[in-house]
């Protein structure tokens, strides 16, 4: 993986939180002569907010230009094409439409349009009913008009994070999972960070990108006191065979509190509907509720009437970290060498590449010396996926590695070789393998392939059956050997 240990466990920068922000910051810093470590308390990267969200590269019209998040959103959105070329994660600019179902909603649409223009968004367009139905024929025929942002797009958020982390690792960043930063103190000009399991490391600079738990991390470092609240969003995922798949992301007209529930044609061919937006007290609560799921179906059908509950293959919920109206990205005024990247709710995913850039600049202003590293390689080698290739290319691949011919997940066409690649890239839980390869993510939801993945995982890692988990310690899959 090319990662090297910093001398004596002392790093130039420790990034706490391997979600989409931490991953972007880590990769950005990997371009310099620095020892960087990316830490996460979970068993794998991208296991928090970054794994369960809408996966939208936003159109830059939802927020006014006075906000930092609006500026980072527009800048971040423009960075996706290059990142996609370099890293190969699933991404497509399919465009976004905002559909107004009543005349009075057109006032808000008008405002969104002005906001978008002011933010410098390219190609944004006010649409008549006819234009809307031409752009998205599956829309409710009662649509009265709307907005079109052609540059808006879709991304698989966890695959985005995985590829950023992999790229960072190839360029020397160290990644440590199952590391819960619990306590920190100053030792000279260093931060000494102690984990829940007693292990520790030292770093000259610390970036707090801990998402939902940024407040706890801040407290552990004696930095600013604040409270991150969690806003839960529930989703339904529809089978790729659904007839209701739109060509573009369909938004309702937003309200003052939320962008509303969307219909998202995912890059992988399925359809995502949701999310709800509900404040919760428990940051680990990702339970769905009957009422909300029914509400999502109702809202989605108002825009795309052909959406059917028969197409549902799974439901899930994610938590978004809410702090204040805007992102909170600045150096601590209370303690040295500590940067907050907190309250990154929507459009955090879109803004994340720009956040990487922004935090790099903040670190530089705080005194971190940035010297470009010769040999930095931004490009990840392409990883073949059976889903994407034709039979002839597939045949050639199987000749190289027979594992490509063994289809483990029939629903999403994932081969044994792809599962092995995921494991070798460090994804050793069932969920990690799922997000990396899509195996277990299709219509049977792992009914057919779970036992096969289990066996491959044991074979490749040497782990016993009692150490196989869904997503880390505590989520063991099996309870006994017969």
């Amino acid at each position: 993986m090319g990662s090297k240990n910093a001398a004596g466990g002392i790093f130039d920068v420790a990034i706490i939180g391997a979600g989409v922000c931490g991953a972007n910051i880590a990769r950005r810093l990997s371009q310099y002569e620095l020892d960087v470590i990316l830490l996460d308390k979970e068993a794998d990267v991208s296991f928090g907010t970054s794994k369960a969200n809408s996966g939208i590269v936003h159109g830059g019209f939802h927020h006014g230009s006075k906000y930092l998040k609006a500026r980072l959103e527009v800048q971040g959105a423009l960075m996706f094409d290059r990142l996609h070329r370099e890293l190969g994660f699933p991404f497509r600019r399919c465009g976004i439409v905002v559909a107004a179902l009543h005349e009075d909603e057109m006032r808000v649409v008008d405002q969104l349009y002005r906001q978008g223009v002011e933010n410098g968004v390219i190609g944004i367009e006010m649409c008549s009913r006819e234009r809307m139905l031409e752009l998205e024929p599956k829309l409710n025929p009662d649509t009265v008009g709307g907005l079109y942002a052609p540059a808006g797009g879709i991304v698989e958020p966890y695959r985005f994070v995985f590829s950023l982390v992999e790229s960072a690792q190839r360029n020397g960043v160290e990644v440590r999972t199952s590391f819960r930063a619990e306590k920190a103190e100053r030792e000279g000009d260093l931060w000494k960070i102690r984990a829940a399991d007693g292990s520790f490391l030292s770093a000259r600079y610390v970036v707090n990108a801990a998402g939902l738990f940024a407040d706890e991390v801040s407290r552990a470092f004696g930095a600013e006191e604040y409270t991150i609240r969690a806003r839960k969003g529930e989703y339904y995922l529809l089978d790729r065979m659904t007839r209701a798949r739109p060509d573009r992301v369909v938004f309702p007209v937003p309200t003052s509190v939320s962008k509303g529930m969307l219909v998202v044609p995912t890059v992988e061919g399925t359809v995502l509907i949701g999310p709800t937006a509900e404040m919760t007290d428990d940051k680990t609560d990702t339970a769905t509720t009957r009422e909300h799921l029914e509400m999502i179906l109702g809202n989605a059908r108002a825009m795309i009437p052909s959406i059917s509950e028969n197409d549902v293959i799974t439901s899930f919920a994610g938590q978004r970290p809410v702090l204040e109206e805007d992102f909170y990205i600045e150096p601590s005024r209370k303690v040295p060498a500590f940067i907050h990247v907190a309250g990154i709710q929507s459009p955090g995913l879109t803004a994340s590449p720009a956040i990487g850039e922004y935090v790099k600049d903040l670190l530089k202003e705080s005194g971190l010396r940035l010297v470009e590293r010769p040999g930095y390689d931004p490009v990840l080698p392409e990883r073949p996926r059976m889903f994407d290739i034709d039979h002839y290319r597939a045949d050639a691949l199987v000749a190289e590695d027979p594992g490509y011919g063994n289809i483990v997940c029939r629903c999403e066409k994932v081969s044994e070789a792809e599962i092995v690649a995921a494991i070798r890239a460090g994804h050793t839980t069932l969920d990690g393998i799922k997000y990396f390869t899509r195996a277990q993510m299709g219509r049977c939801q792992g009914g057919f392939c779970t036992y096969k993945i289990l066996k491959i995982l044991m074979r490749e890692t040497g782990m016993g059956w009692d150490r196989i988990t869904k997503r880390g310690a505590g989520s063991e899959l099996l309870s006994g050997r017969l």
């Binding site: 339970a287 549902v312 039979h391 629903c411 009914g447 036992y451 997503r471």
Partner: protein, 416 residues
């Protein structure tokens, strides 16, 4: 790319696939089974309990024994089987069809055939399909996956289980988990009657004192990293009484909430499906709307007994062989699912030849009457001591029953 050529290919090497291939071979045609697992036998191999074979082999066998008997017949027939081959795609090439099978051993196989029998079976409906809300901890399995883990891999998926749905696999697994030392705290069924066979209710639940909660909706699955409880609420007079909901502590949830014929590949070939069964519409020969593509077994409709699967698939195989030889179906009559009949398979009959149909009823009833009507004239009437949706009913129609059928005649099957 390795190329193969046969008269017919059968996709799937379970009971249906082997039975169909046997008949095609018996008609003197060449035939190959493409099977994605490393063994023939399909789901039978994990069904280690008894109760199979009473019709097909006239004795009670376990699933693996039934599969072994079928495989002996299949091997003797001289048909070929490629194992570890997953058919991912089909192309139409004029009067031939080309299947692309993915295999670690052979690379991509390009199999050119004149006709195809679909015998891919079915898959289990999962939590998302029935939209059970709640958390997503480890410990939620479909009953079939749990059966695989216990019977073939030798692992126990949990110690304290609740089974949602009273389908046969769930009932069988209630017993199997109990034998393996786990405690099964209940089986939860949304309907007022069980979905599985009566004999399984008795042998798998009553004999083990496992409570059956009929008319209960599962309102949530809870837990952090691993399942901690399942919440269920009674349904009274058609309304869910959420205020009476209660939680059953457990570490494992098994779902036995129905099976769905697995027709994604069929759809790729242009095969049209009957929304009542999620299996293809077929004519009296069990040929789909795509000429040369036949279907049998659980891919056509979900069966209750493997013996019926084998019987149906033998007819499909024989019909496939006749089609390859150019024999037409002759005249056909549409079969209408009448009152209290959910569906019939196939949904057409040939008035000039004997016909056998399978159907499922929508109701639970004692002293029911099965009536076959040709243009509103009753041509067959049979008493049934007890009927229920979980048990398939077969109907045999002779040409004499169908005598007098005109070109626009409709045959209706009703349960009264």
């Amino acid at each position: 790319m390795r190329e193969l050529s046969y008269d017919a290919a059968v996709i799937g090497g379970g009971a249906a696939g082997m039975a169909a291939a046997l008949e095609i071979r018996a008609a003197g045609l060449s035939c190959v089974i493409l099977e994605r697992e490393d063994h023939l036998g399909g789901i039978l191999l994990q069904c280690v309990h008894n109760g199979f074979g009473l019709i097909e082999f006239d004795e009670e066998l376990s699933g693996p024994e039934f599969a072994e008997r079928m495989e002996e017949r299949f091997r003797a027939s001289g048909a070929d089987a490629y194992l570890g081959v997953t058919v991912m795609d089909v192309e139409d090439a004029g009067d031939r069809k080309v299947l692309f099978g993915y295999s670690a051993e052979h690379g991509i196989l390009r199999v050119s055939v004149r006709a195809v029998v679909l015998a891919m079976g079915c898959r289990e409906r999962n939590r998302g399909n029935i939209r059970i809300p709640g958390a997503r901890p480890a410990g939620v399995y479909t009953a079939g996956l749990a059966q695989r883990l216990v019977n073939m891999e030798g692992y126990l998926p949990g110690k304290d289980a609740v089974i949602i749905g009273s389908g046969d696999i769930g009932l069988i697994m209630a017993r199997r988990m109990s034998w393996a030392g786990a405690k099964v705290h209940g089986v939860v069924e949304i309907l007022p009657y069980p979905s599985g066979l009566t004999r399984n209710i008795v042998q798998c639940l009553h004999d083990f004192d496992i409570p059956l909660y009929l008319s209960h909706l599962t309102t949530g699955i809870f837990g952090g990293d691993r399942v901690e409880s399942v919440e269920i609420a009674p349904i009274e007079d058609g309304a869910v009484r959420f205020e009476k909901a209660f939680r059953i502590p457990c570490d494992t949830v098994l779902l036995s909430v129905g099976l769905v014929p697995e027709n994604e590949l069929s759809k790729k070939m242009g095969v049209e499906l009957n929304p009542m069964t999620n299996g293809p519409w077929t004519d009296s020969r069990m040929m789909t709307n795509v000429p040369g593509i036949f279907a049998a077994g659980n891919v056509l409709h979900v069966h209750d007994l493997v013996d019926y699967v084998a019987e149906e698939a033998r007819r499909a195989g024989a019909a496939c062989a006749r089609w390859i030889r150019g024999e037409g179906p002759g005249r056909e009559l549409r079969v209408k699912a009448g009152p209290n009949v959910r569906y019939t398979a196939p949904c057409r009959v040939g008035p000039e030849s004997p016909n056998k149909l399978y159907l499922r009823t929508l109701i639970v009833k004692n002293d029911a009457v099965l009536e076959v009507r040709l243009d509103n004239r009753v041509v067959q009437s049979r008493k049934k001591a007890h009927i229920q949706p979980s048990e398939m009913i077969s109907v045999t129609l002779d040409p004499k029953d169908l005598a007098g059928a005109g070109p626009d005649s409709v045959l209706e099957i009703a349960i009264l």
